[in-house]
Symmetry: C2
Subunit: 344 residues, 2 copies
DNA sequence: TTGTACGCGTTATCAT
DNA sequence: ATGATAACGCGTACAA
């Protein structure tokens, strides 16, 4: 029974005009408390809910901030979203969360949403590796890029906040080197992956070179095109394919560009009878919860998602009030030492 | 620059009427290919995007199916959503995905969405433990409940699809008993959790009783109110608090109502120097990916998310075409034997 | 304090 | 094949 009850019906039932009903619904000041109460009762009784489409069409402004997330499965983002939501509500705004498909163009989605609702601001979480400057400018709404990889030439054009993947990756590799490791295998994304996968490889290579270690192509394992690189399964398959039966591995440490990959690799090592960290050390990247509970627990780079979330909303509101110019904030990640690394 | 360009502007620029532009945009048959091409060029040039609110307001029907998910962080749901999306697109429909907050009322969200868009159907994924029949009836749109716990009295009123948590929980407990375990600890949700936590406890108790084992209150560990029960951290804390220093544990197996909880518990056992499965066996519930890669890998009940996803869309379309009555489908879950259990 | 009437941007109807 | 125009449901200026 799709009884399309509208504001007109409510007005008719209450014996008043539609504007009075509208006023009651939107907490307008100029309304008699009694009539308001009467109207709200009828609204309750009939379960009337205003049509959002019609409302968005008429409304001139709203306290809505959109959060566009690319990579919804990332548990890391889930936590950030929770914090951002709290921050937004604390400022008496409403968060409109939208997950954008991996292959979709988030700027396009943002543009459509901007026309549909009257947004005050937008937060892009992840994605945007190949964004065009002009399309972002066209939005006409303040926005902040959070946890996205920036094009070099785009620096200064927008406000963004992220960790420096190259630097953190360098830090982690250097840590392994300082522990005496020289033969450090690397499990990365595919050749064509132009986002974080590439930057983390850069940091790895930089640390090796700085230590005078010649990078060994045979120890740099990239994922196949088409497969999701950031999975345990992928980590397992890559590691398993590199282990020669019965022979000792020709590396003493493994750097996986994601914790998930590291878990898969650890399992493959374990299956081959290789002990961690006694025979081979393993490190990951991201700092997901599991790393603290796995056996052995995982040494990794932990992204400061709490701080990043706070700074993101903070920056957006700053941009919205035109208090600040566009700025790029780089946050430090933390090297978490646990059980999966041994000095040699 | 928020240039609000509308369909009127496009019409003016093209020197034609708005209806012609609308026809071009919506792939109407009655339009000259040349004019259509010309219009689309202008649309491209100006980056015009139709206002969705206005569109939803006017539109009489759409090929949209909404999927409302409660518990977005659940990786289990993420996979199901992907499959459901493919199924929906294969039938030339569009999926509208909405994550509903843990504390929000999903039926209310559904109702608002129904008024806003012209939905053809709705899929509820998770949640709805305390739903009221009348509110669901009021929707006026075909819907299917997937992976939700049903009230007993609501059976037959809607179409739903889920695993039988009591039965699967019973199966898993019986498996432990068959392996010779008699002192089986249970890590569950809080006392007030009326959803799956309670049903899985029922199955556990049923298996014990059937085997003539008196349930030991001291081995049934419920989570504190207020904390998220389904986390590794919670599993760790509960297990750690139950282990007496230096003493052998007074149980030989542990049944955690979720894989995540099991991982936390395993880590706590490991920290106490207790070997798995040699000293204590551990089982989980859900069948998340990590269970195959953890060390040791986790014996668990794997929910058939692929099948469940397919059946869910299948059932929705069946209901939409009024081919079928409301029915409740219970799917069998699979007991996955891995390394965390040992016969004694 | 309340009601009337107009317009938001689009699609559907009807005429051409 | 195309254009003019009436809705869709709501908020709001303006009149009362």
């Amino acid at each position: 029974m799709n009884e399309l009850i509208t504001i007109k019906d409510i007005a008719r039932i209450c014996g008043c005009g539609v504007s009075t009903v509208s006023r009651a619904l939107n907490n307008h000041p100029d309304i008699n408390p009694d009539t308001k109460k009467r109207i709200m009762e009828v609204v309750e009784e009939y379960g009337f809910v205003p049509n959002n489409s019609a409302r968005n069409l008429k409304i001139t402004t709203s306290n809505t901030i959109a959060v566009l997330v690319k990579g919804a499965n990332n548990p890391f983002f889930m936590k950030m979203i929770g914090i951002i939501n709290d921050d937004i509500q604390a400022r008496h705004y409403t968060m409109e969360l939208r997950h954008v498909a991996e292959k979709a163009d988030e700027v396009e989605v943002a543009y459509e949403l901007t026309k549909e609702k009257k947004l005050q601001g937008i937060i892009f979480l992840g994605g945007l590796s190949t964004h065009s400057t002009e399309k972002l400018e066209q939005l006409g709404v303040p926005f902040v890029l959070s946890t996205v990889v920036m094009d070099e030439d785009a620096e200064g054009a927008y406000s963004s906040i992220a960790v420096d993947d190259v630097k953190e990756s360098y830090k982690l590799t250097k840590y392994l080197i300082d522990k005496g490791h020289k033969k450090i295998a690397f499990i990365g994304a595919s050749e064509t992956d132009i986002s974080i996968g590439q930057m983390r490889r850069e940091g790895y290579l930089k640390a090796l070179k700085e230590a005078g270690i010649e990078p060994d192509r045979k120890l740099m394992w990239l994922s196949k095109d088409g497969v999701d690189a950031y999975t345990m399964e992928n980590g397992y398959n890559i590691m398993a394919s590199k282990l020669k039966k019965g022979a000792k591995p020709d590396f003493t440490a493994v750097f996986a560009i994601a914790d998930t990959i590291a878990f898969g690799a650890m399992r493959a090592l374990s299956d081959a009878g290789i002990r961690i960290p006694d025979d081979v050390s393993v490190v990951g990247f991201d700092g997901i919860d599991m790393g603290a509970f796995s056996i052995p627990s995982l040494t990794t780079i932990r992204q400061p998602f709490v701080k990043m979330a706070h700074r993101t909303t903070q920056m957006l509101f700053s941009v919205m009030s035109e208090e600040t110019n566009h700025s790029i904030i780089t946050m430090d990640a933390e090297l978490v030492e646990r059980e999966s690394v041994k000095a040699i």
